[in-house]
């Protein structure tokens, strides 16, 4: 059931303003989109590969991730998402989901009818530009993740993933990387880096021993952001406007 109410799209508008020059009418059109809100607990499935979707999810609170799984159970996460992100902008034009989208933490999502978003992109060129850029940056992130999983050594790989998470979190207005608390589990890091949980634990232990992160088993805290970026050789250029 969709309704109109106070649109919870401030973070989305803020993000799209980084991607294209929006005017007042663009902003008004975005905040007037119909929506329904759903809250889902950590590890809950927001979208399942294969299902047909006629709505797009705007992440309002919490963190989400996209992944694909093998029949044998192995899972590869290939992106994390932050408040203000449209989790599945492809469903504006491609209704069949080709991957899973899961709640990495407890999340709140606003579901917007794909047809309304499509109409908006046809009527508001600046919004269309912003969403197109968002898709292109998604593609850039996926390229970087292929490089990360395929070619970086385990310590750099984990460090790079943490740097990106902290950088995108900052761009979403959630605070600086230095001192950032990242609610990512060892299992999620394992699935995002292609390393086993044992290897991930070893790499985190090395980073803790060097005073670069703290790890209480539930969440990681970045204690030395500069050192983490140095280990990862992190260059945020691939994030384009999504880097803070």
């Amino acid at each position: 059931m969709f309704g109109k109410g106070k649109a919870p799209f401030e973070a989305l508008v803020r993000k799209l303003e980084r991607l294209a020059e929006l005017n007042d009418e663009d902003r008004q059109a975005l905040t007037s989109l119909p929506f329904t809100i759903e809250t889902i607990g950590e590890d809950g499935l927001l979208i399942r590969a294969g299902e047909e979707k006629h709505h797009c999810g705007v992440l309002l609170e919490g963190y989400a991730c996209r992944s694909k799984s093998l029949g044998s159970g192995g899972r590869q996460i290939f992106s994390f998402h932050f408040p203000g992100d449209i989790l599945d902008v492809e469903h504006i034009l491609l209704p069949q989901a080709d991957h899973d989208i899961e709640a990495a933490t407890d999340v709140s999502v606003a579901w917007v009818p794909s047809a309304d978003l499509r109409k908006l992109t046809q009527e508001r060129p600046a919004v269309a530009d912003a969403l197109w850029r968002d898709c292109l940056i998604d593609a850039s992130v996926f390229r970087e993740w292929v490089l990360n999983v395929g070619k970086r050594d385990p310590r750099s790989r984990v460090s790079h993933m943490l740097c990106e998470f902290a950088t995108r979190r900052e761009a979403a207005g959630l605070g600086k990387p230095q001192g950032a608390e990242l609610p990512i589990s060892h299992q999620q890091i394992s699935d995002a880096t292609g390393l086993t949980p044992v290897q991930v634990n070893r790499m985190l232990h090395l980073l803790v021993a060097a005073g670069i992160i703290a790890d209480d088993g539930q969440r990681l805290k970045i204690m030395n952001s500069d050192a983490l970026r140095e280990i990862a050789a992190f260059d945020p250029a691939y994030l384009h406007a999504l880097a803070a």
């Binding site: 394992s190 949980p197 044992v198 634990n201 232990h205």
Partner: protein
């Protein structure tokens, strides 16, 4: 199927240096390390560092004992 083990030390600074070479019919099948205290509940378990068989997927979780590893190999390995 005959699995035999030879104790070795790994050249690592991570504390997981106690290890065994696992041989099947006299040929090196895998290198396993015994997980140290940094691994919490998994400390003391055996983790497959390298597996040379192309017929078995790398197990992502460690084994409680070398007997458990042998059972797992018997269940998963194609006879070569």
């Amino acid at each position: 199927m005959s699995i035999s083990f030879q104790a070795v030390r790994l050249d690592t600074s991570l504390g997981d240096d106690e290890a065994v070479l696992a041989f099947r019919c006299g040929r090196l099948l895998a290198v396993l390390s015994r997980l140290g205290p940094i691994h919490g509940d998994s400390a003391g378990k055996w983790y497959v560092e390298i597996l040379f068989s192309q017929a078995i997927n790398h197990p992502r979780t460690p084994f409680s004992s070398l007997d458990e590893l042998e059972e797992w190999i018997a269940d998963n390995a194609e006879q070569q």
